[in-house]
Symmetry: C3
Subunit: 148 residues, 3 copies
């Protein structure tokens, strides 16, 4: 078994680089075990490459950014959204659901996803007041399918 942290520094900063204190988690973990690769992507929000929250007050733009940040993390391991089998979606207020879902539908259509991932969506306040959405994802594929 091999295990490594995932990085997409051109899209979002390393949690460990937050100032004044590092936040102790990886943006994602890649596990290679017995021919299977699992990507466990941490809760991902509308954060940029410097660790700043972006698109304050705009649920649609934050949702796009969260999906794109996860896309960058997937691509860093040679994967795509087609490999995602489940997401967990946290919304700061459930009233954002229609707009969140609208963007998700557009994003998945753009990516050509079929079948759609399993998903759970609940309301939860997030690590910063200005963040309106956070998405966690699991991808799984046979290791032969992608170059590492």
């Amino acid at each position: 078994m091999k295990k490594k942290a995932m990085h997409a520094p051109e899209a979002l900063n390393e949690a460990y680089d937050y100032k004044p204190r590092p936040s102790s988690f990886s943006r994602g973990m890649r596990i290679d075990i017995r021919g299977v690769t699992i990507l466990l992507i941490s809760g991902t929000a509308s954060v940029d490459e410097r660790g700043q929250s972006i698109h304050e007050g705009d649920i649609k733009a934050q949702t796009w950014r969260a999906f794109r940040n996860i896309k960058a993390l997937l691509e860093s391991e040679g994967a795509t959204w087609h490999d995602v089998v489940r997401t967990t979606c946290y919304l700061k207020e459930m009233r954002y659901y229609p707009e969140f879902n609208e963007v998700r539908t557009q994003f998945y259509e753009q990516e050509g996803l079929d079948p759609l991932p399993a998903s759970t969506g609940v309301q939860a306040h997030l690590c910063r007041e200005e963040l309106l959405v956070e998405i966690e994802a699991i991808a799984i594929f046979e290791s032969d399918d992608k170059s590492e």
Copy 2:
């Protein structure tokens, strides 16, 4: 690896059929990989085959329905609650926990579960105000064990 969406239309509607807008997720995802089958079941609530919330205001009846909806999804892939290894349970208000847990205990006894699944339970508002409980589940088994 094979991957497919899970369906149990006689128990609960397809999320993609919600009107006026589809909700972009599958009720569950089946993954077959290297002799192992994983069923990732989406957050499942007391929703019926037409997508209506049922048993408004009744935590016990909603809990039964959520467990039974998951049972229908499992059965659609030849699995049972014996294959479930973990649940995540969201309650709209934590004061519902005793009644939720009472039904869970009865349901698990009825199904003859031993060992009991791992579980995490927290309070969270759900996608509709009238929904009091939502349950997510993971099942895993060797592919030879069940006919597909």
Copy 3:
């Protein structure tokens, strides 16, 4: 495939032993399948071997205890925190995050973790008012690596 409940009764009680009513989940589930071992550890809080909440009002002490309870569960299966690939962390109030994260950083340094697990952290009220933090964890390793 083999499946068994995890126990660490010297650290935290069995959920099934709660009075007046059992809580119907295992502290964790061990799955051995095709040479891979997966440990799914249930949401774990600052609870002691008698099932009592401890360190009321003290987020740092509660965080230490939750990490140590999970450590005890891992050790019961011959595993360590090095095998943990993801956590999900629930804080009763997000204002506890800096202190929670400080303890987490210390704990992970003490354990010598590198890479750090993937993680999602959100705000959620927990099963008892006095509990301020709850942590869920997944560990994965090749079965040959550890004696059962």
